[in-house]
Symmetry: C2
Subunit: 369 residues, 2 copies
């Protein structure tokens, strides 16, 4: 194999496949980057003497077409893929400039870290993550299978998508969020020491993924401009509506009962619903709901939470629901395949535990008090 471009992703691929005994040739115009990757164990520096089975072009989106044409011309490999987080623009470049497009399949391993460069690389960066491939009509089945083999060595899950569908999806799930992180972080440039003293989890979380590698991201946003603009325009319009509400409140702080609050309530509700949609998808297999009656004696709830902990039920998923004369009950969701055993073991330990239907329409967002 060959990896052209030994940044975070290229180096991590080198580390992942090297574990399985694959010989990897590392190429980078930045000599320190290639030597660093080699020193980490991602492969050996320099081009192979003969064509390798597969070359991964791990360069920014706008450079994919040019580097691919160059590597094909020197006969680096029999098959090529790339890792750019935009797929339509590189595909257009490839169709324009590359002689043998059948040997190329577009790819994008989903593995965003806030850090970049080879030293942030990890052999397990792609484990259990999606790795999108966007084969075109001209791509040979051989090329796709070659890349499947590498994806398997990296422990990732292949996902076949159209270029446009991929670019729209990552605009929503990756590109726009990183712009939002940068927009928020930009407010901190002249933040006072006093403000920073009050910074907590919210600020850290929202700004952690602010773009550091501005050159690469300038390239990515340029290549996916229409899709990113679509997501950000909706966000901007919501923000403008919210600002009108906040300005109304600032000028008439006493007029609290008025209906001018509605847009703010609506936005917060939609945000909570969006977060719930994402988290429900991510927790799709947590479907059985269990209810346990907690006798109102000191220490009972703590004892129950300890037991649930041994079942890997997260405390944050536990919700108190009903209050009765005998005490109150809590509910929690567990993976369906483990629910039966958990209810049985709780009952055996003396708890009054049973399956319940999740309260219809109740979302986590609404049970806060």
């Amino acid at each position: 194999m060959a990896v052209v471009g030994t940044g975070l992703v290229g180096t991590s691929i080198g580390l992942a496949v090297s574990r399985h005994g694959v010989k990897v040739h590392l190429l980078d115009k930045d000599e320190v980057a290639a030597r660093t990757a080699a020193a980490l164990g991602a492969g050996v520096v320099g081009a192979p003497d003969e064509p390798v089975d597969l070359a991964v072009i791990a360069v920014p989106p706008s450079a994919v077409g040019g580097v691919l044409a160059e590597m094909q011309a020197r006969g680096l490999a029999r098959t090529y893929t790339d890792v750019a987080s935009v797929k339509a623009q590189p595909a257009r470049d490839v169709r324009k400039s590359v002689d043998a497009p059948s040997s190329y399949v577009g790819g994008h391993p989903l593995a965003d870290r806030e850090r970049c460069g080879p030293l942030a690389a990890r052999a397990d960066l792609f484990e259990d993550r999606a790795w999108v491939l966007t084969p075109s009509e001209t791509t040979s089945q051989d090329a796709v299978n070659q890349v499947f083999a590498m994806i398997a060595l990296c422990g990732a899950v292949p996902v076949i998508m159209g270029e446009r569908a991929h670019d729209d999806a990552v605009a929503l799930t990756s590109h726009a969020p990183r712009v939002v992180a940068s927009l928020t972080a930009a407010r901190l440039q002249h933040g006072s020491q006093e403000s920073f003293r009050l910074a907590g989890q919210a600020l850290r979380d929202v700004t952690r993924m602010a773009v550091r590698d501005t050159g690469l991201w300038n390239d990515i946003l340029q290549a996916n401009a229409p899709a990113v603009a679509g997501v950000l325009r909706e966000l901007r319009d919501d923000l403008t509506t919210l600002l009108t509400t906040l300005d109304d409140l600032s000028s008439a702080p006493q007029d609290n009962g008025s209906q001018s609050l509605e847009p703010m309530v609506d936005l917060l509700n939609r945000g909570a619903a969006g977060l719930a949609a994402l988290q429900e998808w991510q927790a799709a297999d947590r479907q059985a709901h269990v209810q346990v009656l907690v006798p109102e004696r000191p220490g009972q709830l703590v004892r129950l939470l300890d037991v649930l902990n041994t079942f890997h039920v997260e405390q944050e998923d536990v919700v108190p629901r009903h209050s009765t004369e005998e005490g109150f009950s809590i509910t929690f969701a567990v993976p369906a395949m483990r629910a039966g055993q958990i209810v049985m073991e709780l009952s055996r330990a003396g708890w009054n535990a049973e399956f319940v239907d999740p309260v219809s329409g109740a979302r986590k967002a609404e049970v806060c008090f």
Copy 2:
């Protein structure tokens, strides 16, 4: 002590001071919440027979004045504080409606979690965190000292600030970021399953703190509307400028060399600088920079990273810098008070290690490749 309002913050305070043997009375209009807090060990449900030393009013900002007046009228405590994340508006309410304002000192423990409610409470929620107090001219020294004692039991660090300065600071570091998280999460409400499959760290980080307790946050944003609007208006203006750039790129994708990219580059750079400012403040004690020469033999870099790991130097803080004939060198920053020992131990283990001046003006954001 008494805690009025047993949500996340009220219950956590109860847990923290109960550890030290303080008797805590828990009051909440939601009976299940109070009983849950008591069952967790935060105190006992119900009002005390005689006035307690200190009552914490842990209710939303707009309710602080009313609840404080009510509790003073029934003689719940000799001293009062609150925990609302906005300070100017409640202080105005208190001055209007409360008979003995000298017994009240405004407070705000900085401890944002994404979860809410008593079950998310933790005794160590405030440990090593800032706890802002905003005493006014009428506040008695006795009241402030009483609250200092409770803050100490919670393991937090008191910070005295003006109400306005506090509200401006949290608008920047907490309120605006949570609105941004909600704005981003709102885009997901109708996200496709295919998009969610591609969701990674960036989306999770930026949306994790989206507001769930919309009632509370409606109240907070209303109470701090002018300051929050100030931060968000700057963000909106940056976003509008960026959208113009993205639209220009969408309509003329070939015209890449034009200067129309400048606003995008500028925004990303300001975001990186803002993030660096925050992280540098948070890492203010990491000041000594060490450089180590890495011989270019297989395994040397991995061996060095392992050693650095034992010194708790995070791999992500290690930066490769210079390339020479003998190999290349890396630099990293360590707490000044431990730097001497680290250089000595590295040297003793055979490494060529020395102190260096940080390259002037070089930021982490610029060393990515």
